[in-house]
């Protein structure tokens, strides 16, 4: 026992890490209980979990740039979109002369991979321009890029089918997608956990805390920012590819969904900005909340969700991790002061 705890400490996992591992152990064999007639683990459950893993992955990716590096990316879904369309085009058969025959009718796996790579490359090019911007200006620029991409996809009709969209060979093997997304989510979270522990991770935080200082202390901030940016983009691109294949149909409006980015931000916020476990918890919480909310208050659920978001953000800016983190969060007067700061007080420090 003692030795076990020792090795445990050496792993530096912490209690969230423990939780994460336990969840993984539960999740992996889940489809083995697949028995529709017993209705224990239904396709629907698997599909829900698949979508949850997708959200977890996306939120974690966003957290890498938005949380650790402090560059609040309001267009991150653009990489999801690029990945999705990359995959879609490679798997499909666009009837367009200039498009080389070799780049059509691929099978899913290579297509997905290439989709991710395309997204990463796009991120490097884009990042070298937009990552020079600070604060909300970066956010706007990314938002702009997002919208621009959506419309560009419409315009490149021969390749993307424009507004008509394009259909992929439908293949709805829920357990497959379940494992695929589970693996991806697992990898991403592990990666985040690792990055957070490494010097690279600390340099990202340093950039968030004081970019000029970091640069002057010998950190090549541009390089690090872009690296974080393309890593996140690559992973989101993969997710996009998976999503496209699972949905069997893509058009600009379903792929470039503005809410997708907002969801990532929302979930990361709820869980805890810049923490490893945060996005996971946030994504899971919001996903299931939605599940409950949407199936119960049909007409009011969006209103409810909006108000919920407001309460979350005002109530616990550090998110669940923050609340769990500081003991005093449970003292009522403090909460009161935290939730209702008078405008005339300088209490809040800027991001």
């Amino acid at each position: 026992m003692a030795t076990l705890t020792l090795t445990w400490q050496r792993l530096h996992l912490g209690r969230w890490g423990l939780l994460f591992v336990v969840l993984l152990l539960v999740a992996v064999p889940l489809p083995q209980f697949f028995a529709p007639e017993r209705n224990l683990v239904t396709d629907s459950l698997l599909f829900s979990l698949t979508q949850m893993f997708i959200l977890i992955t996306l939120a974690s990716n966003w957290n890498l740039t938005g949380g650790l590096t402090g560059y609040v990316d309001f267009g991150h879904a653009v990489f999801f979109g690029v990945g999705a369309y990359g995959t879609g085009i490679l798997m499909g058969q666009p009837g367009w002369e200039p498009w080389p025959e070799a780049l059509t009718l691929w099978s899913f796996w290579p297509a997905m991979l290439v989709g991710g790579i395309v997204a990463a490359v796009f991120a490097v090019l884009l990042g070298s321009a937009t990552l020079r911007l600070k604060g909300p200006y970066f956010s706007i620029a990314m938002l702009g890029t997002f919208v621009a991409m959506r419309e560009l996809v419409r315009v490149v009709r021969p390749l993307t089918g424009g507004g008509l969209g394009m259909t992929l060979p439908p293949y709805l093997n829920r357990p497959l997608f379940y494992y695929l997304t589970l693996t991806l989510a697992g990898l991403v979270v592990a990666l985040m956990w690792w990055i957070r522990r490494t010097e690279f991770g600390s340099t990202l935080i340093a950039i968030r805390e004081d970019e000029v200082g970091a640069e002057m202390r010998g950190i090549n901030t541009t390089l690090h920012k872009i690296t974080a940016f393309w890593i996140a983009a690559f992973l989101s691109g993969l997710v996009g590819g998976i999503w496209a294949y699972q949905n069997a149909y893509i058009d600009p409006d379903v792929v470039f969904l503005p809410n997708r980015t907002v969801d990532m931000v929302m979930m990361t916020m709820l869980g805890g900005l810049g923490t490893v476990a945060g996005p996971v918890i946030g994504a899971a919480t919001i996903y299931w909340l939605r599940d409950v909310v949407w199936s119960n208050l049909l007409l009011f659920h969006q209103i409810a969700e909006g108000i919920l978001l407001i309460i979350i953000v005002l109530g616990a800016p550090e998110g669940i991790m923050g609340v769990l983190g500081d003991r005093s969060a449970t003292s009522l007067p403090r909460l009161w002061r935290k939730w209702f700061p008078s405008t005339s007080s300088e209490s809040e420090q800027p991001a």
Binding site: T198, T203, R208, E209, R217, G218, N220
Partner: protein, 255 residues
């Protein structure tokens, strides 16, 4: 010793030729020439707004140099990036304290290590034990060992200045630019800082350039002093020469 340096014509460690910086119309720096030699402790003084910090910013390349040239170890750094200059062994502290407030003292130090020639790939692992070793030594050296796991944001102003000094020393630089190292620090700490600087200069031959309001501090520490006024170099010499210099007195006391 620096007198010898100059006599035996050693190449300057840091040299500025006609360094100028314009903000729109007005010149924050106007054709400043200076040379700094290995192993000396030089001072940079001048009334408020005389361009001291601007000069530092230009030297550490936070700000672009409008005109002129800067050489460090004989290499021109006029157009280099800040991190490149840092890699070459030039470190600095800031008038407005810049520490990573949300990180611990130790992490702050670790992040200030020498990054020269480090591929990004090597950084995908926790800090090297040697780095940690050096960091904790410096922290001890600066009497911060009780606070090693404290968030830098929670330190007192003085302690943060010490931490900054530590962060500047961490990459083992050859030249250290100290900007207002003593402002808002209680006298006892000032003495500590003095000792540390002297010790480093004596034992490791580190070169220092100090920006100070505290003339006494300069007088105690420096062998040579530059005086800036309205972005131009007003005078240069030993502390006692400077205090006798009429132009300087006029600039300061407008007599």
């Amino acid at each position: 010793m620096n007198s010898q340096n100059q006599t035996n014509g050693q190449k300057p460690l840091l040299e500025g030729q006609n360094v100028s910086k314009y903000f729109g119309g007005l010149a924050a720096l106007n054709g400043v020439d200076f040379a700094l030699y290995r192993g000396e402790i030089a001072g940079l003084i001048g009334p408020n707004g005389s361009g001291k910090t601007t000069l530092f910013d230009c030297l550490s390349r936070v700000q672009d140099i409008s005109e002129g040239h800067v050489f460090f170890k004989g290499v021109e750094i006029t157009r280099k990036k800040p991190y490149q200059v840092a890699h070459m062994g030039l470190a600095r502290t800031f008038q407005v304290i810049r520490v990573y407030r949300k990180l611990t003292v130790l992490e702050n130090m670790l992040l200030s290590r020498q990054w020269r020639g480090e591929s990004l790939f090597n950084q995908l692992r926790p800090s090297h034990p040697d780095t940690e070793e050096r960091a904790s030594q410096l922290i001890e050296f600066l009497l911060l060992d009780q606070l090693i796991d404290e968030h830098a944001g929670n330190l007192s102003g003085g302690q943060q200045r010490l931490l900054e000094l530590g962060m500047a020393l961490m990459p083992d630089p050859d030249l250290i630019l100290l900007d207002e190292a003593t402002s808002g620090i209680n006298p006892t700490l000032i003495e500590t800082i003095k000792d540390r600087i002297r010790q480093l200069n004596r034992e490791q031959g580190k070169t220092f350039l100090l920006v100070e309001h505290n003339i006494q501090f300069i007088a105690d520490m420096c062998t040579r002093v530059f005086v800036l006024n309205y972005g131009e170099k007003l005078a240069e010499g030993t502390p006692d020469e400077i205090v006798k210099n009429d132009a300087v007195i006029e600039a300061y006391f407008g007599a």
